[in-house]
């Protein structure tokens, strides 16, 4: 592994990508502050969308420019020195390398489409300008996150998107449930962020820098040394890797911190699509890719990432099987797909993880926006898919576009999801991670991931059948009012559908005769890893073919199972369908899945309630009321008490005052005499008199 001489080129255009959404934020924010609901909608529309469009143009040009350069070139821009204390230094600076380029493109492109969609979706909301204020702020923070050239600035973006997520989940804050969901997201993320901070501290403690480029080159130059750096018997790389991954677990909704994401669906649907599917929740994946040069030194941390990712992929999928809310199914699906991305990261297939992030951004945003279109058709009154059905007749364009996303997510070739998911499955199987090899986890992870793919196909088919296909279960009155959404919503759907169809072709692996452009493009951004290989009995080509067939078979099987199970919904029958009968047969299992494995209840019982009670009874009722307030009130009571005693002396008789005055003077004289440097007061007085007399005698 040669130490690559990376060439950083100073440029001055990176800041513009970040600047435009910030201007949009200021404009809309000030507009809303001054004019409130009277701020004209067309101004909000144009300022919000045009700023994102400008960012997108800069990002796209940047991507083009960097792809024309030799592959070891990337761009940097230092805007100003932000923090400089001792040997700690963090700039407000940006790095535009291949990874940031891809992320910027995803964020600005999907962001732009969703902003346009939102002008239709939020059309009748009184908080229109406020919505776009938050959205633009989110874009600003997200771009800071992906462009930051040091982890501290990255953390600023990380927290900033968390804040916007909170603000937007609780956008309709008059509804207590929704405000609560925002709080939950914020608080659960705090736990992860604590881990993230510990990770930053660990890295700074041992590497003495928070800037990514010096950090990366130091590790590249001292890779042997860094690999053996330990603290308390744990490798520093493992420690930092796991701490950072805890942060990623919070932000990217992995076990055990995933519970906030399903509740986050309380926010407006464009928010769910942008923040809780396409961009913010993938920040954890991006961060691991960004810190890949640390992770490659710790097979243990990578194994943890891979195992948590695979488990989350399957686990969230099984919950998705029984959910009834149109957006909740998609939320669990997002958690599951994020699990895939982490599985890829953990098996050192960094480019595959980012590739899945890339394709997922398109098809999951599309699914959410499609769901939003359905919700608009129902005038925000119905989100239960068991009451829908047959919507393909009423919303033809929504159906057509969502169908593409559906095929993409379950992994039917040649749609985008197939290429990225298949790549991950293959890389999991062939991973060169020593720890995974040692415990033969490769095969297990692969099996879990394939099962998760099967489950994905089942719940997504169920979602499609219950929402769009078969006959309508909506009452006559509501059905009468169902109509296709306005063009401002349908056109972004079309673009995203094109993305879901075509994005996968950027990363067609060599096996299918492609060049895997995506992976080669990203290669310079990641730490070098030993190539994946199948150390098996059979030849590699054949294994790869088998793996591809297995993953397609899993998707097809899932599709068939779900179709069979919900056949009665497609063609109404007298007796209850297979799905209902299965649910009846294994009622406990069904209940377990429907109630999300009671994890919310368990957390509530073991963590939330004890914390609340402890806060109320100990911190509030005991410590705050008795210790803090007790001390302050005690001081007041003490001075009142002494005051009540002392005012007895002030009886209004002047002679008494005089007496105390004279007594005081006498006491002072006595005291000074008693403790004076020459001894007791009598002696002092005597000495004084003697001295005086002798002086007088001498004068004579």
């Amino acid at each position: 592994m040669a130490i690559e001489l990376i060439r950083a080129v100073d440029v001055n255009w990176i800041a513009f990508i970040v600047l435009f959404p910030f201007l949009g934020f200021l404009f809309n924010g000030l507009g809303y502050l001054v004019f409130r609901e009277r701020f004209p909608r067309w101004l909000s529309n144009w300022s919000a969308c045009l700023t994102i469009a400008a960012s997108f143009i800069f990002a796209a040009i940047g991507l083009y420019v960097i792809s024309q350069e030799p592959e070891d070139v990337y761009y940097v821009q230092k805007v100003f020195t932000w923090l400089s204390v001792g040997d700690f230094r963090a700039d407000f600076g940006f790095i535009f390398d291949h990874l940031s380029a891809i992320m910027c493109l995803v964020v600005t492109l999907v962001g732009l489409l969703i902003h346009i969609y939102a002008t239709g979706y939020m059309g009748h909301d009184p908080g229109y300008a406020r919505f776009f204020t938050y959205m633009n702020l989110f874009m600003f923070m997200m771009l800071i996150l992906v462009l930051a050239d040091n982890i501290v600035l990255l953390f600023v973006g990380w927290e900033g998107v968390g804040l916007c997520s909170y603000l937007l989940i609780g956008f309709w804050y008059e509804d207590w449930e929704k405000a609560r969901a925002g709080l939950k997201a914020f608080i659960v993320n705090r736990i992860g962020d604590f881990g993230f901070l510990l990770g930053i501290f660990t890295l700074f403690l041992f590497l003495h820098t928070v800037e990514l480029v010096p950090m990366k080159s130091w590790i590249a130059e001292h890779s042997g040394q860094f690999g053996h750096l330990t603290v308390l018997g744990v490798k520093v790389a493992t420690l930092a890797g796991i701490f950072l991954f805890i942060g990623a677990c919070g932000k990217s909704a992995q076990i055990p911190l995933y519970v906030w994401l399903p509740d986050a669906m309380a926010g407006p649907t464009p928010v769910s699509a942008l923040i809780h599917a396409a961009t913010m929740v993938t920040a954890g994946v991006y961060m691991i890719g960004r810190m890949s040069f640390v992770y490659v030194h710790s097979p243990v941390a990578l194994a943890v990432v891979a195992v948590i990712g695979a488990l989350t992929a399957l686990y969230a999928g099984t919950i998705g099987l029984t959910q009834k809310d149109i957006k909740r199914v998609l939320a669990y699906s997002t958690i599951s797909q994020l699990g895939y991305m982490f599985l890829a990261m953990g098996t050192m297939a960094f480019a595959s993880g980012i590739f899945h992030l890339f394709t997922h951004a398109f098809f999951k945003a599309l699914l959410f926006l499609g769901a939003g279109s359905v919700i608009v058709a129902y005038h925000h009154k119905e989100q239960d898919i068991t009451n829908m059905g047959g919507l393909s007749r009423y919303l033809p364009w929504t159906h057509r576009t969502v169908l593409i996303a559906f095929l993409a997510i379950i992994g039917i070739p040649p749609f985008a999801g197939f290429w990225s998911k298949d790549e991950i499955l293959f890389r999991a199987f062939a991973s060169s991670n020593q720890v995974l090899h040692k415990y033969h986890l490769n095969l297990l992870l692969w099996a879990i991931a394939v099962t998760a793919a099967l489950v994905t196909a089942i719940y997504m088919t169920r979602w499609m059948i219950l929402t769009f296909w078969g006959s309508s279960r909506t009452d006559e009155e509501t059905r009468h009012h169902l109509q296709e959404s306005p063009n401002s919503m349908i056109i972004p759907l079309g673009f995203l559908a094109a993305g879901s169809l075509l994005a996968g072709f950027l990363g067609v692996p060599a096996f299918f005769g492609g060049s895997n452009w995506f992976e080669h493009f990203l290669e310079p951004a990641f730490a070098a890893v030993p190539p994946a290989e199948i150390t098996g009995i059979l030849n590699e080509e054949f294994m790869e073919l088998v793996l591809v067939l297995m993953s397609v078979a899993a998707a097809a099987l899932g599709l068939l199972i779900a179709t069979a199970a919900y056949f009665d919904k497609l063609f109404p029958a007298e007796k209850p369908g297979l799905a209902d009968r299965i649910a009846d047969k294994v009622k406990p299992l069904y209940q377990l899945s429907y109630n999300k494995y009671y994890v919310d209840e368990i957390y509530d019982y073991t963590i939330v309630q004890p914390t609340l009670r402890g806060s109320y009874y100990f911190l509030f009722r005991f410590f705050d009321v008795m210790i803090i307030d007790g001390f302050v009130n005690g001081l007041a009571a003490l001075s009142a008490f002494t005051g009540r005693l002392l005012r007895r002396f002030q009886n209004g008789i002047v002679s008494n005052y005089l007496f105390f005055f004279v007594a005081g003077v006498v006491l002072i004289i006595f005291y000074m005499g008693a403790v004076g440097p020459t001894g007791g007061w009598a002696i002092t007085l005597k000495a004084l008199l003697k001295n005086l007399l002798s002086q007088i005698k001498n004068l004579r």
Binding site: R647, Q650, N651, G652, I653, V654, S655, L658, F659, V662, L692, L693, I696
Partner: protein, 101 residues
Amino acid sequence: MIVGPQHFLVLSAVLFGIGLLGVLVRRNAVIILMSIELMLNSGNMALVAFARYWGNLTGQIFAFLVMVVAACEVAVGLAIILALFRNKDTVDVDKINIMKW
């Protein structure tokens, strides 16, 4: 017997003591005011005695200053006593106990 500073000082101390006693034990506000004058003047006497003893004029200047203060004090004090007398028909300090909480 030569009259030295110690005689003046003793006289000053005695006068001061008489004045202090008067302030403490008399009840008539006018007498108290006079006793205060006595104390101030005993102080003046000590100042002048020391000034002469050291051959230094500072003490005498101070005595002048004290006289000025004493004059002011008498002016204010008598005004207060007059005001009190008009309101309370008495100058007995034990009967005037309005200066309290």
